[in-house]
């Protein structure tokens, strides 16, 4: 808690990038373990075994509690006092727990050993464990590891760590061949929409990471162009680049503008003309415009603040400001990757208040002074803010709901319009 925030100038090039205020203090953000909650729904033959404390198990349960209707494909190996005593013992314990999991779920194709704060502090070597166990189960189950500890990752960075762990597993794309790889967990319906658009544009082959099943890993090589569907996958993108792939610079596919810009980056890489892009996307854009028009009415001129949570804040703020006419009061992000956010930052209005990191109490002070019409925040804060008369939107919903692409643009706007509509409706 360093007290005074530090100011940082936009960029060396001196263009009109917004000034970022950095804060350090109490944070109200999930740790990377929370990513398991959507990753295990997406990768249907994967199982996530967290090696951690009772707190980790409780966190996963609380974060996922509302959403899990079937038996989860995740679990926690809870460390006890005797595990902390000697590390040799710990590995034997881990082997036993893994055997238990695999016996219970013989359908598992890939098992992730997920590191946590305590396993990191006691320096439990999960990479080694994964290697050892891979030998034991070779040919049957793939065993990988990554860390999603709160010491290293916030919320959505857990997905980044997980996908990065997959990169070395991807088969080599033969040289001379090219492919498009879309990074980031997308609901199946959105993935299919994008796949159709790419096909119509003549771009292909197109692969998605994470895949629905780990038996269908996409190939990767120097002919691979990467598009990020989610803005929090910097590490994964860099790991792909290290294998020769090239990251396409683009805004993120939220709203019409973002989706079009995102597709354009691919068409340019494939040498597809602007005319083709326009022709292919025109019907979807027209639909999206019709859908958006309705919500724009309730959003236009309304003031919105984002508390830092999912790293989706900047692209969403851009969409709400440019396509829905909202006014940005403060845009907080837990972590700002300037390279991945470059295209988005250019689209933000001049003078926007952009904060990185968090000092919760000070941020809440500002929020109370600003009194925006809508605040995007985590689950722990929503009800207390509502009780202060501030309308809120849970940021976690934006990670689970299909919100990417043209056909979801109106759905995305609706997520923000609904709390406002409700506020206008209620007489209690």
């Amino acid at each position: 808690m360093s007290g005074q925030p530090t100011l940082e100038r936009g960029s060396a090039a001196g263009d009109l990038l917004p000034v970022v205020t950095r804060e350090r203090g109490q944070r109200q953000v999930f740790c990377g373990l929370a990513g398991i909650v959507w990753l295990h729904r997406k990768i249907q033959d994967a199982f996530f075994l967290v090696i951690g404390s009772r707190t980790c198990a409780h966190l996963l349960q609380s974060a996922a509690g509302v959403m899990i209707f079937a038996e989860p494909r995740f679990a926690t190996a809870i460390l006890h006092e005797r595990d902390l005593a000697g590390l040799a013992d710990c590995n034997a314990e881990l082997d036993r727990v893994v055997a238990e999991v695999l016996e219970r779920r013989p359908d598992i194709g890939t098992l992730f050993l997920v590191g946590s704060c305590p396993s990191e502090v006691i320096k439990l070597d999960l990479a080694k464990a994964a290697e050892r166990l891979s030998g034991v189960y070779s040919g049957r189950v793939r065993i990988l590891d990554y860390s999603a500890s709160g010491l290293e990752t916030t919320f959505t960075q857990g997905e980044d760590a997980c996908l990065k762990a997959l990169v070395p597993e991807l088969p080599q794309l033969p040289s001379g061949e090219r492919s498009l790889l879309v990074l980031g967990t997308l609901p199946d319906v959105v993935e299919d929409q994008f796949a159709r658009l790419f096909a119509e544009l003549g771009i292909g082959p197109v692969h998605f990471l994470p895949p629905r099943r780990t038996t269908a890993f996409p190939p990767l090589g120097s002919g691979t162009k990467i598009l990020l569907a989610q803005p929090f996958l910097g590490e994964t993108a860099r790991a792909c680049e290290a294998r020769g792939a090239r990251l396409l610079s683009a805004p993120y596919p939220f709203g019409i503008e973002g989706t079009l810009g995102w597709l354009r980056a691919a068409t340019e890489a494939w040498g597809v003309t602007g005319e083709v892009l326009d022709a292919v996307t025109a019907p979807a854009i027209a639909r999206a415009q019709r859908g958006l028009a309705h919500h724009r009415e309730s959003l236009e001129g309304k003031r919105i603040s984002f508390l830092p949570d999912s790293q989706l804040e900047i692209p969403l703020a851009r969409f709400l400001q440019r396509e829905c006419g909202m006014e940005l009061v403060e845009v907080g992000t837990p972590f700002l990757d300037r390279q991945l956010m470059a295209e988005e930052m250019r689209l933000l209005p001049e003078g926007v208040r952009l904060t990185e990191g968090q000092d919760l109490e000070r941020q809440l002070d500002r929020l109370r002074a600003d009194r925006p019409d809508l605040t995007v925040c985590g689950l722990g804060l929503a009800n207390p803010l509502e009780s202060e008369g501030l309308r809120t939107k849970w940021s976690i919903e934006l990670v689970f709901t299909p919100v990417h692409g043209f056909d979801q643009a109106a759905d995305l706007a609706e997520l923000f319009a609904r709390p406002l509509r409700r506020a206008a409706l209620l007489r209690v």
């Binding site: 203090g25 944070r27 929370a34 609380s62 679990a75 190996a77 809870i78 979807a284 722990g380």
Partner: protein
């Protein structure tokens, strides 16, 4: 290491949070990494509280390890004190902080704050949530009252003849099961025999209230899981007797009144059968005959499990086929109870073991926690929740206590509802061969019950569509392209029927013969507002 899918209890610092979140004027500084702040949502989302729990987290990160985490603690304590001005400050650490051994309690005490600073030892790798709540409450009461403990051998002064007996209600906390309503019900119950409630703690109490605890004549240990240590200590140090019966169920409520009467020296006869107590008659009524011998499996905290078993056996005529608890500290009570009903007790905090036992027993009703709700759903067994851990639906808007006579009424309703109604069950037995009343028919009130009786998705869709006869003529001329049909299947099942009908209506209006994926999304854009 222990493998868990779900857990019954959080770590001990969650127990500490339950105590401080229950109180006013107390603040907890928790040395914990970023991410541990998830705990706030238990209170604000699951319990639907309008305020954040009074907890400040140090939220340390990897780059700070080994350098300035101690400084972080001091800053956090200082800022929390300045901002929240608590009258008592508690300092504790979560599991990761325990490993890095900063001793935040000692650091905070060294800061010379002008209020009591209590340091909590919450061993995260050995203990759990209920223990943490019990310990925190005990440390708070002991920390504040220690200077006031009378000399050994000095007995409390007898109650003046002209003053009502006074009782403290100890143990209700945030995130407990129906604590708020239980406090109201027990207060009413005590008033009916002329006993005043003096202090309720921790729920709603201030540090000053805790200082007034010794002024009461006796303590009611309402939730032993959180208050038994405190009650024991008060009994030892201040000579305050403890009422140990927990008034859950008709019989237990009468026993509770008897115990209060004995300790307070008052007559309780008239209060033991109030007209508000409808449960005994409902249970005797002929419609309840079908409840006889229903096989029930109970798994909960010890207090609610033991109380539920007695109600099942004595007040509802069920058969207890299994009982267990996740609260190891109170395992003895549950073992004794199991012996009374001739069943094998299950003492475990392993959700998978409970699931296994439930699958073996195949009970007709499960009484348990949110976890048993998951288990029961998976196994297709009716279930009612009787204990923490709970979910948002277990904090109902209406008054729904578990304790006292009204509590028994509430439980009659909530335990019987998941079962088939008496008449319905009779009919099924009587018309066993009838096509409508067969064993596999879904009970009338459980439209979406999981199990063998659940209609297939295709079946229900066919029904939904044939019911939609006005659309039939138009829809029959419209064809779904295979790709569009595939796309439709990706839409969640609970809105798929609506999407299908809307798309067909849209196609009919537009004169479209073949529904393509484009049509599907055009219709979505058309209706989607």
């Amino acid at each position: 290491m222990q493998l868990t899918l779900w857990t019954y209890e959080g770590p001990p610092h969650i127990g500490a949070m339950r105590v401080v979140a229950s109180m006013q004027g107390v603040h907890l500084v928790l040395h914990a990494p970023q991410g541990d702040t998830y705990a706030d949502l238990l209170f604000t989302m699951i319990e639907r509280r309008g305020t954040r729990p009074p907890v400040s987290y140090t939220t340390f990160q990897a780059r700070e390890l080994g350098s300035d985490t101690a400084e972080l603690v001091k800053n956090c304590v200082g800022e929390a004190f300045e901002r929240f001005k608590p009258r008592v400050l508690l300092v504790g650490e979560a599991c990761t902080a325990e490993l890095i051994q900063d001793q935040p309690g000692a650091l905070a005490r060294g800061m010379g704050l002008p209020v009591p600073v209590l340091s909590l030892e919450l061993p995260a790798y050995a203990r759990k949530e209920c223990w943490g709540a019990n310990e925190t409450f005990y440390q708070l009461v002991r920390g504040l009252l220690k200077p006031r403990v009378p000399e050994a051998g000095r007995h409390p002064e007898p109650r003046p003849a002209d003053r009502c007996p006074r009782a403290n209600l100890l143990g209700p906390t945030a995130l407990g099961f129906r604590c708020r309503d239980d406090v109201e019900e027990v207060t009413r119950l005590l008033a009916s025999v002329g006993v005043d409630v003096h202090v309720v703690a921790p729920l709603g109490a201030t540090p000053e209230d805790l200082l007034r605890i010794p002024e009461a004549d006796f303590n009611v240990c309402l939730y032993p899981e959180t208050a038994d240590q405190t009650c024991l200590w008060l009994e030892r140090m201040f000579g305050q007797p403890t009422v140990k019966t927990v008034p859950i169920g008709i019989g237990a409520t009468r026993d509770f009144l008897d115990e209060v009467g004995r300790i307070a020296g008052i007559d309780v006869t008239d209060a033991k059968s109030p007209i508000s107590s409808r449960m005994p008659w409902y249970s005797r009524s002929v419609d309840s005959t079908y409840l006889t011998g229903k096989r029930v499996f109970i798994f909960a905290d010890a207090t609610h499990a033991v109380a539920a078993a007695r109600m099942c056996a004595e007040e509802l005529g069920f058969m207890v086929v299994g009982i267990g608890t996740y609260a190891r500290e109170f395992a003895r009570d549950v073992r004794e109870c199991a012996k009374r009903y001739g069943v094998e007790p299950l003492i475990t905090d392993d959700y998978l073991e409970v699931e296994k036992r439930a699958a073996e027993l195949q009970p007709e009703l499960m009484l348990g926690t949110q976890m048993e709700r998951h288990i029961a759903k998976r196994l297709g067994i009716p279930c009612a929740v009787i204990s923490a851990p709970v979910h948002v639906q277990d904090f109902p808007a209406r008054y729904a206590p578990q304790m006292g006579f009204e509590g028994a009424n509430v439980m009659f309703d909530t335990w019987v509802h998941p079962l088939m109604m008496g008449l319905e069950e009779h009919l099924i037995t009587m018309f066993r061969e009838d096509f409508e009343f067969h064993d596999a028919a879904t009970p009338s009130h459980l439209g979406s019950r999981v199990g063998a009786s659940r209609p297939t998705e295709a079946g229900s869709q066919a029904v939904a569509e044939s019911a939609d006869s006005p659309m039939q003529a138009d829809a029959s001329t419209i064809i779904w392209a295979a790709e569009a049909e595939q796309e439709l299947k990706k839409i969640p099942f609970f809105v798929r029927g609506k999407a299908r009908r809307n798309t067909e209506r849209f196609a009919a209006e537009q004169g479209i013969q073949t529904i393509t994926v484009e049509t599907l999304y055009d219709a979505k854009a058309h209706f989607g507002r």
